[in-house]
Amino acid sequence: MAAYVVRRLFWSIPVLVALLLAVFLLMQAIPGGPFDFAGERSLPEAVIANLERRYGLDKPLHEQFANYLKSIVLEGDLGPSFRQRNRSVNDIIGDSFPISAQLGILAIGLALLIGIPAGIVAALNHNRLPDYVASFLAILGVSIPALVLGPVLYWLFALKLGWLPVALWGAEKPFFLGFLPMPTAKFIRHAILPTVALGTGMSASIARLTRASLLQVIREDYIRTARAKGLRERAVVVRHALKNSLIPVVTVLGPMFAAVVTGTIVIESVFGIPGMGKYFVQGISNRDYPVIMGVTLIYAVILVLSNLLVDITYAWLDPRIRYS
């Protein structure tokens, strides 16, 4: 297993380099450069030239890319931000990634906490009322976009009931282990609404997947065997059926995890959360090349790692899967 993990990690390096190269070339292909404009106005050529010299954009492309890789490998430096001179891309990610991760992990936790039990209840009551209710709620959850759910939540719980704050995030650096916030009352009060807004949609898709997969597994021969040998229904479901039916759920969890811990722009802007999501969009609209590359790289690394974790989990969930 250890050898397998090392091999997987090793092979992810060329994947990441290829990805960076693709992003680098795509960025150059979009019309408009990072310094063509300041706010609503165009800049004179001479000023653009000064700015490009300052950031080494006057050098040939292959040299720019080589320098970029070199500074990542040798110094762990993801470069400067073109828009914010007082911050490097490392600063931007260092400030915003932990907050996105906090929200993402809470939301995934909530999604699992709701989604899996709901899926089980629906599957075990196949084509009965609880199934219909759970399926209806799941469809509702999947279809309501966060952009709508977020404002509805703060309208109800903040403006009408006055229980929770409208927006903002309740934790600040420094974080425990770099990303764990202090679970203060302030943190919890601020985290509830965005967690619900982000987690609901995911819990709905997890519930649907769990239900479908469990329904399939429950018709397998080995479940019939388990029942035949007189096991209690609970043991049959939890020990035999559920564990196997989680494979598709775990499969989607990998990419889902990578997507939410790196930040979701909608939830973060609706709730005024200083996460990383906005940099994916801002980086592109500002043509802030190093920011685009940096956040994409982080996303890719998290995706590679979570997919590896998913593959390892397979082996645990299904004894037939073994890596050597």
Partner: protein
């Protein structure tokens, strides 16, 4: 059974962790310590006089906070508001956007300022200024009691007086091609040697040559409190220009020491009414009153507390929930979908204020592209826009239909002048289009209207598209591009084939003179001349206005230029003059400035009323 006990164990650990960690959290909560600052002040209001300079000897005065038990319990007077986006910089040399300008205005003094009511140029760091006979040499006499201040933790550290050398350093650093400041081009049209220095190719120059260019810039410190600017030609608007952030004094020692990071809290050295205490990037800014500012005794609000919230509707909800004291610049005014509700609401409607904003929204015609190269076609399209209906039914912010490019509030504007501009006239629109050879729109090639992607611009464009259909019977094709692509398309030197026939654009004032509009945007050599308006007569008028010193003559020159632009040639169709729409809680007394360079130090809060209203 086994599983359950394991769960219980985990739960127990989690609970303990939560208790322990939350304990840590509350212990770490900072205590509010009220600072009492003792500053020996010589309040000698020197207004219109040059001052005998006494060189200050002691430089580092550390003001320590003396905890006062009575005051410790009281919360400082705090203004709560939001920023709509993170200020990209707080460096006066690099600032280019309104959010940064707003914060810079709170922290850095300029030689000159604007009066909030009359918008006249008034003294700030400069107490007075003289102009040479020929109008090309400006001498500013500065006050001697402005200080550089650094906030280190809770300690306010004084770092010496703000001198003429700091002013000269500031403008030279802005112009320096190695600084590569986006706004470095702004002084190049007026200041001697600025263009040569700012646009120099540093790769082709030796250090000595670059130094020679630096020395050639017409900005000199005559003594510690007198600074002299030499202009290329007379420019009556120059004192207005010195209010710009790029002309503000900058602290050389700090910048040399910390480089690009000098604007971070703890490092930044400023001289204005407020000091930067916290800047959680992407999250919030916190400014506190500068006790060493020369007018500190007139400043009531002690803390400016502002998270960054990117969504206008969230800002509105925070306002209604009592979390912020006003909704407006530098955050968000009430969003458009809420406007009807706000106007109808008995409370909100009394908190609503609509004031002019010094910006113009316009549709530009690409004057070099057929059939827009025919002025009759352009006129027909402009006549057909019913600006008032657009404002009443869609924009709802009491914007003003625009007849000219330069908006009201700017020196030399002709906003509202009945003889300038084309306003809605469907009859004339149809007639003019027929005169151009396209009766009832027949024979006109497909016309494209391009906008940058934005819901608000799209709605406006669709409304005007419908007006053109109705009045002129012309089907206009609507196209959208992402902002950076859009600007690339519209750039004056991009090929006309790629350009649309009509596009939307806006312009906001940097300083209050028509030069910033007519010359900076529409002179034939301007990089913002997206309309490809190349008119020698117009160029001559704005050039003449630049060097003319008699205000009445200048105003008339700008009027003539506007008439060429709007009536004779109709290079563009100005749509409306912007307004700023604000909601302000009744306990806050807020004086706003149409340039969004608000002077928060003049604002006051009825603190007891705020505490009662917000329950803090």
């Amino acid at each position: 059974m086994r599983t359950r006990s394991r769960w219980f164990g985990a739960l127990a650990i989690l609970t303990i962790l939560a208790v322990v960690l939350s304990g840590c959290g509350s212990a770490a909560t900072p205590q509010v310590v009220k600072e009492t600052v003792e500053v020996v002040k010589e309040v000698e209001k020197v207004v219109e006089q040059t001052v005998e300079v006494v060189k200050e000897v002691e430089v580092e005065v550390v003001v320590t906070a003396t905890p006062d038990p009575a005051a410790a319990a009281a919360e400082p007077v705090t203004l709560d508001f939001i920023f709509g986006s993170e200020p990209p910089t707080l460096d006066p040399a690099l600032t280019e956007d309104t959010t940064s300008v707003w914060v810079v205005e709170q922290m850095f003094l300029a030689l000159t300022d604007y009066d909030d009511d009359t918008l006249e140029v008034i003294p700030e760091l400069a107490t007075s200024w003289d102009v040479s006979e020929d109008g090309t040499v400006y001498t500013f006499h500065m006050r001697d009691d402005a200080k550089w201040v650094q906030l280190v933790g809770d300690e306010v550290v004084e770092l010496g007086p703000v001198t003429a050398n700091d002013v000269v350093y500031g403008i030279l650093r802005t112009l320096d091609p190695t600084t590569a400041a986006p706004y470095s081009y702004v002084p190049t049209t007026v200041l001697v040697g600025a263009e040569e220095f700012a646009f120099a190719d540093t790769t082709a120059l030796s250090a000595e040559e670059l130094q020679a260019l630096r020395d050639g810039v017409g900005a000199k410190a005559l003594d510690d409190y007198t600074v002299e600017f030499t202009l290329k030609q007379p420019a009556a608007y120059f004192p207005a220009m010195t209010s710009l952030w790029i002309f503000r004094p900058q602290p050389q020692a700090t910048i040399d020491e910390f480089g690009d990071r000098w604007i971070e809290p703890g490092l930044i050295v400023t001289n204005g009414p407020y000091l930067l205490q916290e800047w959680g990037h992407g999250s919030h800014l916190k400014l506190i009153k500068n006790p060493l500012w020369y007018d500190a005794d007139q400043v009531q609000i002690e803390v400016l507390n502002a998270p960054i919230v990117a969504e206008a509707s969230t800002g509105m909800a925070m306002y209604e929930n009592g979390e912020i004291d006003f909704a407006g610049d530098p955050g968000w005014g009430p969003p458009l979908p809420d406007m009807d509700r706000v106007k109808a609401d008995p409370v909100l409607s009394t908190e609503l204020a609509i004031l002019p904003r010094l910006c113009t929204y316009y549709f530009g015609f690409v004057n070099t592209k057929a059939p827009m190269d025919d002025e009759l076609v352009r006129k027909a399209f402009s006549y057909a826009i019913d600006r008032q209906t657009l404002i009443d039914t869609l924009l709802k912010g009491e914007q003003v239909p625009a007849n000219s490019f330069t908006c009201p509030g700017i020196f030399g504007n002709v906003g509202g002048d009945p003889e300038v501009g084309l306003l809605f006239d469907p009859e004339k629109a149809r007639q003019t289009l027929a005169d151009a050879g396209y009766p009832n729109g027949e024979g006109l090639p497909p016309i494209t209207l391009m906008i940058n992607q934005s819901e608000a611009h799209l709605q406006i464009a669709q409304a005007i598209q419908a007006m053109w259909k109705e009045v002129l019977n012309v089907e206009v094709i609507l196209e959208q591009q992402e902002w950076a692509v859009y600007l690339e398309t519209l750039k004056p030197d991009s090929p006309d084939e790629d350009k649309p026939h009509i596009f939307r654009m806006g312009w906001c004032a940097d300083y209050l003179d028509a030069n910033n509009w007519l010359a900076d945007v529409l002179h034939s050599n301007s990089t913002s001349n997206y309309v490809r308006f190349l008119n020698p007569e117009f160029d001559a008028l704005v050039e003449q206005a630049q060097v003319e010193s008699d205000p009445a003559v200048r105003a008339d020159l700008y009027r003539q230029a506007e008439i060429i632009l709007n009536n004779d040639v109709t290079a563009m169709a100005p749509i409306y003059f912007y307004t700023r729409i604000d909601l302000t809680k009744p306990y806050l007394n807020r004086i706003v400035n149409p340039l969004s360079m608000d002077h928060v130090w003049k604002w006051t809060i009825d603190w007891e009323a705020k505490k009662a209203a917000t329950g803090r």
